[in-house]
């Protein structure tokens, strides 16, 4: 093979392997000039949003490694985190201390929810994604019940700013005054006038190191084995179900921290809505970053967060310039988020059935004939 040929080959391979991010880069490259935003503004936005969202998106990686697909169940972690924040706000602990206390309080809850989710998913092998999504809706119901009725009645809430005027239930919006950007501003740094959330980035970097290290542990290795072939792993003596439960617990706990970091950046908690889009947006970002249902890496996370949010910022304005209505851009981004998830799940299912068909064919003495008509 000539060198030139090899080069061309790698390039085309690179393109095919990264078709999704490349498509988005092209889209965004068209939209940015249309939107008229300044580069500085966009950089500032991206720095903020990287700090805000990366942790959440990173929490998706471990279940993918364990072959459980995109964990829509990270909303469970998000809800646990919100409960932690509500309690800490009630106790009046503020600043970074409050933030860490919220994490500490929410951790047992996240572990419990993750454990439940893991057990449920073990009964739905091969249908983890749909199941985790439905489970999210179900636990959301429980969350509403707890926050709307139990808090102030069964769980004492003394801070009247939190409680609805009827005496129990938490208000719709909570101002996280004490906690707002406490982590982001812990180590103040401005580069060219742009505030950089150094402490948050350190946190994210630590998580990356953890995930990288985790993949090298026995547990991480077992997860990869289980993710590829449960019955072979079982035969080798790996505790498959336990391993899967641990994967989901880890993901849920990380998502819980991720949501707390997300909320400290935003500065307000919409008690009943903040977690609505957590899973969808995180998953869409990861997929746009080039991940698939079966394979995702740390670079996918950062590329994804940047591209997804660039589109998020740019699309409405570009839509307005182009069509005279910001709503078009708004529709577009919602359409894209859900669209990309739907497409990748369908693609994955299709690829899986194709692969199965193929391996079956090559294994079998006789072929099943797929219906062609």
């Amino acid at each position: 093979m000539t060198k030139k040929n090899g080069f061309k080959d790698t390039i085309s391979h690179l393109f095919i392997g990264n078709a999704v991010p490349i498509m988005f880069i092209i889209l965004i490259a068209i939209a940015i000039p249309l939107s008229g935003f300044s580069t500085r503004y966009l950089i500032e936005e991206m720095v903020t949003r990287l700090g805000r969202d990366s942790f959440l998106v990173l929490s998706l990686l471990i279940p993918i490694m364990a072959g459980m697909g995109l964990n829509f169940g990270i909303v469970l972690g998000a809800m646990a985190g919100q409960i932690g924040i509500i309690l800490v706000t009630n106790w009046g602990v503020s600043g970074v201390g409050g933030l860490f206390l919220a994490m500490a309080v929410a951790t047992p809850l996240a572990i419990l929810l993750g454990w439940i989710a893991g057990i449920v998913l073990n009964h739905a092998k091969g249908r983890e994604m749909v199941t985790s999504m439905i489970l999210g809706f179900f636990i959301n119901g429980v969350y509403q019940l707890v926050v709307l009725y139990f808090m102030g009645k069964i769980i004492p809430i003394s801070n009247s700013a939190l409680v609805l005027s009827r005496g129990y239930g938490i208000r719709n919006a909570i101002d996280l005054k004490g906690m707002r950007q406490s982590l982001d501003r812990l180590i103040p740094l401005k580069i060219g006038g742009i505030a950089v959330p150094v402490a948050t980035f350190i946190f994210i970097a630590l998580l990356c190191v953890f995930i990288w290290w985790f993949a090298k542990t026995k547990l991480g290795h077992d997860m990869r084995a289980v993710g590829q072939d449960m019955s072979v792993s079982e035969n080798a003596g790996i505790k498959v179900e336990r391993t899967r439960i641990i994967a989901i617990i880890l993901s849920t706990v990380l998502a819980c921290y991720g949501q707390i970091i997300f909320l400290q950046n935003i500065g307000t908690l919409n008690t009943y809505n903040s977690h609505d889009q957590t899973a969808t947006f995180a998953i869409a970002a990861l997929l746009i970053g080039g991940a698939t249902v079966a394979k995702a890496s740390i670079p996918n996370v950062f590329v994804g967060v940047i591209l997804f949010h660039l589109m998020f910022v740019v699309a409405p304005k570009a839509g307005k310039q182009l069509m005279g209505s910001a709503m078009i851009g708004e529709y577009f981004r919602v359409f894209v988020s859900y669209g990309i998830i739907a497409v990748s799940i369908v693609l994955y299912a299709w690829k899986r059935s194709n692969e199965k068909e193929r391996s079956r064919r090559s294994l079998r003495g006789e072929q099943e004939i797929p219906k062609t008509d």
Binding site: K218, A225, Q228, D229, S362, L363, G365, E366, I369
Partner: protein, 538 residues
Amino acid sequence: MTEQQPVLQMQDITKEYFGNRVLTNVCLDVNRGEILGLVGENGAGKSTLMNILFGMSIIAETGGYTGKVCIDGKEVVFQNPFDALRAGIGMVHQEFSLIPGFTATENILLNGEVLHDNIVAKLFGPRLKTLDLPEMRSIAEKSIELLGVEINPDTLVAEMPVGHKQFTELAREIHRPEMKLLVLDEPTAVLTESEAQVLLTSLRRLAATGISIIFITHRLQEIFDVCDRIVILRDGQVVKEAATRDTDIVQVAELMVGRSMSAKSVATRAYDEKTETVISIDHLWVDMPGETVRDVTLEVHKGEIFGIGGLAGQGKLGIPNGVMGLYPAGGSVTVHGKPIPLNDPAAALAAGMAFVSEDRRGVGLLLEEALDLNIASTAMQSQNKFIRPLLGGLLKWRDDKAIQDVAREYIEALDIKCTGTSQRVEELSGGNQQKICLAKAFALQPDVLFVSEPTRGIDVGAKARVLEALRTYNRKNGTTIIMISSELEELRSICDRIAIVDEGRIAGILPPSATAKEFGLLMIGKLKGEGSEVNSYA
């Protein structure tokens, strides 16, 4: 030296499957460093006996067994395969149990990884120890080396040819230091002859290190090549136990089947060149790992039985796999003058071709269904055979009677050992399941039938029967059969013409009457001249 304690003693083992007795008072022992050959017809009870030894759950689920198993003189009752593993018994399973996306190293040490301790592990448990990949690699390397083969420990299993997967499994069993008894249930069935030779050499090396081996195979020559002792099972009873040197192949074969075997020579008819061409293959290349086809051009005529032979790794297996669209291929294939798109299995089937693959591990039958349904299923799905229209075609009804009839026909023709047409396939022995695969292809009544290694895993007695069935089928239906086999004698016994593949190309086509020397010259590539052994592992 005083009398040695046998590593394994099995005494008076009796096993029934729901009242059907498959093992009766079987006794067997194995000494240290000994290779014991276990032979018997399909369904004689070999796999069942080994499943008992290995504590497989299927045994307990079907009512357990009676008798005694002793390891080093102590009685043991294994509840599950892990108990057996701990006691130093390893078994190479009939189905590959490898993780495709893992390397050879990772598979060999699956769940037995070498780990580094660290603080986190001390706090949160041993599963957080990290993997010592270099150390694992060197253990894997040693284990592979012990087998005497060359496999890169970093190769992904998904990218290995079948033979290497088999060696990887073997390497996994033997890497454990406590290993003392290795059970191999038809390990050579998925291997080509030269791969099998390498495996046999490996077994001898292992035995020399003191590991005892129970070796099950249908290739009797292999037994005589490596085994010290031989135990023959017939209908669940030990009919003979002898040192290999005190017996010979013919005697063993006769004891296995319980009747004397006459070496029937098969009359081939003169090959008639004038019949129309059914399939023509033009400049075919196939990218099949370990069996690359580079440039093959062939024409096969109507009603012909065309043989394809050659050494392992030269590409003979790649030809049917490429034509049937199972591996990436290029060139052109026409059937009855119509071009067939490559890389599209559905199109290949629609064109009236069928394929019985060489890789029949986990044969992909509907294991929980009755055998008659299995035989008819593909024909039913793809050709609407065995289906009766009702109410003018509004309803489709399964024609159970017709299904049973074909099943009976093929049970008879292929000598499938079963209790009846409604027996579930999972209850059949390995060899009999393979015959079902052939029957399935027959029921399709294809125009062109590719059969790859049709007698692998089939006992000596039934081999002739299977070949006979192929020929009868060919004569009766005028089906063109392309048979790929690594056993030259088998090809010569039923084929009209035999092509020999060498380095991905057809080295030549000979009539079956050609001498063994002529075939041999083609196989080793006349032009290369030297080296009669082509070692695919080098």
